[in-house]
């Protein structure tokens, strides 16, 4: 049993035309036991910047809280919302500080550049190596399943409805093939002027 598989998760972020989407499952479990089925993995970091954490939940909480702390200080000093590229550096730095005793949690960032509105997604490993994605980023115990699904469903310049369908179908079918993820799904569609959160019904097993 790997520490990455202790809690289980399914996380995916996808880019569209002037929009991004980030979606997660909502199972919180301890190995085979499911504790809650409405667990929020996505955290808001800015008006159009969201981060979802996979992996060990205790570390996910800690990293999210520490990140928000650093982000708040940044926004107080700079008096503007953070740029996603800068945020990625912030995440990377936070995780690499623990290079030889890492947080067992990997974030996925999804957002729009506050000035240009360009879509932005990124994934990391647990010690902070960033991968800025051009199409999609997947993470969690269902990561491989999500890769296959996203590869088939994603295409460039999806509008927000097509993006929603693509990311939802990718997530639902991938998490159904992973016993550690599932029990519901949350999808955030992030556009320049609004963010829509949709809660999907999924297989409850």
């Amino acid at each position: 049993m790997s520490i990455d598989e202790y809690n289980g998760s399914a996380i995916v972020a996808m880019t569209g035309k002037d929009c991004v989407a980030i979606a997660t499952d909502t199972r919180f479990g301890v190995q085979r036991t499911t504790i809650t089925t409405d667990f929020e993995r996505v955290h808001k970091m800015g008006p159009t910047l969201y981060v979802a954490m996979s992996g060990l939940v205790t570390d996910a909480y800690t990293v999210a809280a520490r990140l928000k702390y650093r982000l708040n200080l940044y926004e107080l000093r700079e008096n503007r919302p953070v740029n996603p590229k800068v945020f990625v550096s912030m995440v990377s730095n936070l995780l690499y500080e623990r290079r030889f005793g890492p947080y067992f949690s990997t974030p996925v960032v999804a957002g729009l550049d506050p000035t240009s509105g360009k879509p932005f997604i990124a994934g990391f490993d647990c010690i902070g190596d960033p991968t800025i994605g051009t199409d999609f980023v997947t993470d969690g115990t269902s990561g491989e399943q999500l890769m296959g699904m996203c590869e088939a469903f994603w295409r460039p310049d999806l509008n927000k409805d097509e993006l929603f369908e693509a990311i939802s179908q990718s997530l639902l079918n991938a998490q159904d093939r992973d016993s550690y993820a599932g029990w519901g799904a949350q999808v955030y569609i992030i556009e320049k002027d609004k963010v829509t959160k949709k809660i999907l019904k999924a297989r409850k097993d």
Partner: protein, 200 residues
């Protein structure tokens, strides 16, 4: 009334490619094929044993093995090595006649010790986890809303789906690529097609 199986033709060891042209799907009898993932040495050995047993069956009984019998035989062969397994992740696919004489397609998936199950679709191997959820969605129509169109699986669509699935796996799995071998099985026998895949 038909079955389709796809596989790739790259043989790799670690980060090296040993061959770009290894056929992983082979025939057993007229209407049945076996596709094998896992350890290549054991795959070859297992196929030889299975072929020989199929021949013996034909000599003993005067008729060829049909699909579910091949599936059963494979299960027993794998279980006979329960405590030193044959590291072969098999898929058996074929068409067989049911009690009304209708030809039905079947796919059987296995683990290394012979546990098997007939399913509408199955995927195995290193990139199996990448392909399987897509097949669930497109073949079994899982997670589609009530108003979503459920496109029936015709020959063209099935072959197209296998191509898509192999391409998706090739993109994201380093061990998959070079060529895709697609096999179509119906009551008249087995046809093979080959598609190019990314060679990186």
């Amino acid at each position: 009334n038909a079955e389709y199986m796809g596989g790739h033709t790259r043989l790799s060891e670690g980060y090296s490619i040993l061959s770009r042209d290894v056929e992983r799907i082979q025939s057993i009898g007229k209407n049945c094929v076996i596709g094998q993932a896992g350890f290549h040495g054991d795959n070859q050995f297992l196929y030889k044993v299975l072929q020989t047993r199929a021949k013996i069956f034909e000599f003993d009984h005067g008729q060829a093995l049909d699909c579910h019998s091949t599936a059963s035989l494979l299960s027993n062969l794998l279980y006979s090595r329960r405590f030193f397994p044959i590291l072969s992740y098999c898929l058996v696919a074929g068409v067989e006649q049911d009690s009304q004489g209708q030809w039905k397609g079947r796919v059987y998936g296995y683990d290394v010790v012979g546990s098997f199950e007939s399913r509408p679709c199955e995927a195995t191997g290193e990139a199996g986890t990448l392909m399987l959820p897509l097949l669930d969605n497109q073949v079994e129509f899982k997670n589609l809303g009530p108003n979503a169109e459920r496109v029936p699986l015709t020959r063209e669509r099935a072959v197209g789906l296998i191509q898509d699935v192999l391409q998706a796996a090739t993109e994201r799995d380093i061990m998959t690529g070079d060529f895709g071998q697609i096999v179509l099985i119906d009551k008249d026998g087995v046809q093979q097609r080959r598609i190019p895949l990314r060679r990186d």
